[in-house]
Amino acid sequence: MLSDVLLIAGKDLRVELRSRIALNQVVPFALLVLVLFGFALDADSSTLATFTPGLYWVAVVLAALLAVHRSVSLEDGDGADEGLLMSGLHPASVFLGKAVALIAELLLLALVLLGGVLILYGAPVDDVTLLLLTTVAAVIGVGAAGTLYGALLSGQRARETILPILLLPVLAPVVIGASRAFGDAMGSVATDGWSWLLSLTGFAMLYLAVGSVAHGALMEEA
Amino acid sequence: MTHVGYLVAGWGSAFLIIGIYTWVLIQRGNRLAKRVPVEKQRWMSARDEAERIGDA
């Protein structure tokens, strides 16, 4: 089971390493979003610092949409999705493997962006542990939900347009929770960031579980 | 009566939207019913529930 998960994750990451889509397109896109927020919200750095948590997570979620799309589309190249169906790998392994690869990519993206907001927006950091743990928990949630809803749309021509409609409302609680926890960690909001971190962890666990169970039904042929 | 404008807007939008939805639904039904044989239109009979997805 674990080796199957790693096999799929390794395959996805290797494809990413070869094509460099996430690194060369998704990360720059997310950074551009940050820069545009800066333009839109005026150069007043105190405003930017206040809104950093929210802007940061909106940028992450937008970029995650692209990453999810890429994660799904690399399966429908030359019938590879059918190959996986015929391989006899357990659907839960395939789901977890794809989720692990996506989460790894998103984690890299989130860390680059974190550096971006710290430099560009000049956001202060009070609690590094909370900041990093929140990032990990939220990214796992986004990656798991993204893989699940991505699998739902595999092989669909209208995928690009339906994915945001489906995924963004689902990710709304992650944006709320992660922004609050970041707010606490950056000292801009008086809230208990650790309890938000706990709820983000719950969200991530829930979607990993639901995805593992549901993926078998979604992988079935159209 | 106070707030007449709000009342008209609120109740009016409810009537309008539900009205349009109902009308579209009935039109769709009428159009489809002409193309489906009558014996397939046994409304809510017990047999419908027995059908499973994938049955012929």
Binding site: D4, K11, G88 | A56
Partner: protein, 216 residues
């Protein structure tokens, strides 16, 4: 034992009945050529036998497993080589082969034998799959299928794109598979080439199986 057993199978692609009541019995160790015009339903028939198509009407079993309820098991036990090679364009040939071999639980030795069998040039191992020619891709796909040692081979125009040597390999693959007790269904337009290596041929047309004459 009947490896392929189909009775009045109807398969719909959208609204279109690709198979309109196909009936076919194939015994273990038999090799059968499916011939017929384009759009006759040959590919759909092979995909059906691979457990990739939902059956609209009719009954059937593949390797003793029911086509309605046990398609997951069927998929694991057959080797399908179709128009789509199921390879990742961004990976190299070697990476593709190793990934799929591990996914289908083939040992490295089985994979090596399969590569040998298909005579895949070892120098191609580090070349991205997207740069391969159609014939090289086909050989790679055949090697993946061979590595899993399927009990039922489903070959959809296996000669397409292959050179003379590749075609000979496919022919010997069919004879060797049946000699080893496996069953082969092969759809092809290369009748003169395939007829000598199969036990019998059937004609597929209009989504039906028209039983043909026994092989010459």
């Amino acid at each position: 034992m009947s490896v392929v057993s189909l009775r009045n199978i109807v398969v719909l692609l959208g609204q279109f009945p690709a198979l309109s009541g196909a009936t076919l019995e194939v015994q273990a160790g038999e090799s059968v050529l499916l011939q017929g015009p384009n759009g006759a339903g040959k590919s759909t028939l092979l995909r059906l036998c691979a457990g990739l198509q939902r059956v609209e009407r009719g009954d059937g079993s593949i390797l003793g497993h029911d086509l309605h309820r046990e398609r997951r098991i069927i998929r694991r036990r057959v080797g399908l080589v179709g128009h789509r090679t199921m390879l990742y364009d961004d990976l190299t040939t070697g990476e593709n082969l190793r990934f799929w071999a591990r996914a289908v639980r083939a040992t490295p030795e089985e994979l090596d034998q399969a590569i040998e069998r298909m005579q895949i040039d070892r120098r191609l191992m580090d070349v991205p799959t997207r740069q391969l020619s159609a014939g090289q891709r086909r050989r790679t796909a055949l090697a993946v299928a061979a590595a899993r040692r399927p009990e039922l081979w489903l070959l959809d125009e296996p000669h397409a794109g292959l050179d003379q040597a590749g075609r000979d390999i496919v022919d010997s693959l069919i004879t060797d598979a049946t000699a080893a007790g496996a069953t082969v269904l092969v759809a092809s337009h290369e009748l003169d080439r395939v007829r000598p290596v199969v036990d019998r041929q059937v004609t597929v047309a209009g989504g039906l199986i028209l039983e043909g004459a026994d092989a010459v």
